[in-house]
């Protein structure tokens, strides 16, 4: 399968990329990992006339902590995240998520930022970033701006990014003490998108009462879903078995799955229920210092 022809640009600096995007106009497409864009171009579901390859821009591959948040640069691959000790120790939800994305070969190329920029509700990072309350940093000829993840996903394959904006960095707030998170995904086989997935991030107080809860759902809606009703329900409650059960039922009701090759809507809704309960239990264990 051969994509339609296009003109290729490989800027060597961020400001060069920004001005290129401005010159080329809204038909230009950014290429980062290429693991979503290139398959779509091969199938001719996308035929951009201009490709701006950002892979040669220096200083965009970093995972670091600063000013109370984890910063993930535009060229961080999934496999970089997977081996980052910082992520493995302090951001378990993120570590869980990256491990179940695609397969190891795809993860060597695919970027975390591209995973969000693609705006695909079947991708795994959107739910996780919604649970973590991440902030998106975008750069364009108009300068830099921050976008709350809540406002980022605007439709199927659409995001708040303008055509001339580059997603430069994701910022994930560093979880306070007594926090824990987990991502659980049901997939038919390695490399498949989720039949359903659930991301949970919680913070407990000293008595075990839930102070903060973030819950995101994968591939059970047209737009990556923040399960706000579950979050509201959990806040201020001691997270005992009854609360977990009730929360999982609310999550199932909040999901909006469709029948497709991965299963019926009813089946997926029930999966959301089961996965939410399991993810919550694991997040609580981790918040209490367990594995």
């Amino acid at each position: 399968m051969i994509p339609r022809g296009f003109e290729y640009f490989a800027p060597r600096a961020l400001n060069e990329a920004v001005s290129l995007l401005q010159q080329l106009g809204p038909d230009a497409k950014i290429l980062s990992g290429g693991q979503s864009l290139i398959p779509m171009m091969k199938l001719r579901l996308a035929s951009p006339p201009y490709i701006v390859d950002i892979n040669r821009i220096p200083d965009l591959n970093y995972v670091s902590e600063a000013n109370g948040s984890l910063r993930i640069g535009a060229l961080v691959r999934e496999s970089d995240l997977e081996i980052s000790p910082l992520v493995g120790s302090g951001y378990r939800l993120l570590a869980d998520t990256t491990k179940v994305i695609a397969d190891p070969l795809v993860r060597n190329q695919a970027t975390v930022c591209g995973n969000l920029a693609h705006g695909d509700p079947a991708n795994d990072h959107p739910a996780t970033m919604l649970a973590l309350e991440a902030t998106i940093v975008a750069i364009s000829p108009r300068g830099e701006r921050e976008i709350s993840i809540r406002d980022f996903f605007t439709g199927l394959f659409s995001t708040a990014l303008q055509p001339d904006e580059i997603l430069k960095e994701i910022r994930v707030p560093t979880p306070p003490p007594r926090s824990g998170g987990a991502y659980l995904k049901m997939e038919r086989k390695v490399g498949d998108y989720a039949t359903a997935g659930v991301a949970v991030q919680i913070t407990l107080d000293e008595a075990g009462v839930c102070q903060r809860a973030g819950v995101g759902l994968t591939n059970v809606s047209f737009i990556p879903l923040k399960a706000a009703k579950v979050e509201d329900f959990l806040k201020g409650k001691p997270l005992d078995a009854a609360a977990i059960k009730q929360a999982s039922e609310i999550a199932a009701a909040e999901s909006q799955p469709m029948d497709d090759i991965r299963g019926s809507a009813d089946y997926k809704r029930d999966l959301v229920r089961v996965l939410t309960a399991r993810a919550l239990k694991q997040a609580i264990d981790r918040a209490k210092g367990g594995a």
Partner: protein, 160 residues
Amino acid sequence: MAKIEINVRVNGVEHRAEVEPRLLLVHFLRESLRLTGTHIGCDTSHCGACTVVIDGRAVKSCTMFAAQVDGREILTVEGLERDGKLHPLQEGFFQEHGLQCGYCTPGMLMTGYAFLNGNTAPTEDEIRHAISGNLCRCTGYVNIVKAYQYAAARLREGGV
């Protein structure tokens, strides 16, 4: 569309070429350089038959443009053998019967090459995770795992 110039090192040999931007890396390797050891299985980014190693990382060459490898270093299955001697992984596949039809084998070898470079004492579980992006429709994977273990042992003893 205007062609662009790329300079790339493949199996230790420098190549300079003019390529159409839409040319996929796998076609560049197979058709321009005539290195047909790299296979096309699915052409939809799922099977891993097209795996090559770029600057130490195993990636799918059907999901990359040749234009992207300008200035980079590529290893394909043809580059594994050195001075007429098989790489321990190739020897492992031979000794442990790690292939039947052989279609997945180049990809399995390249994934294994990058994987064992970072870990010469892998557990079976680690090996199975490492090959989870490479599909084999013949062997049932058992002997591929054994071939990796054979190679890991050889590499620990100080093989190439």
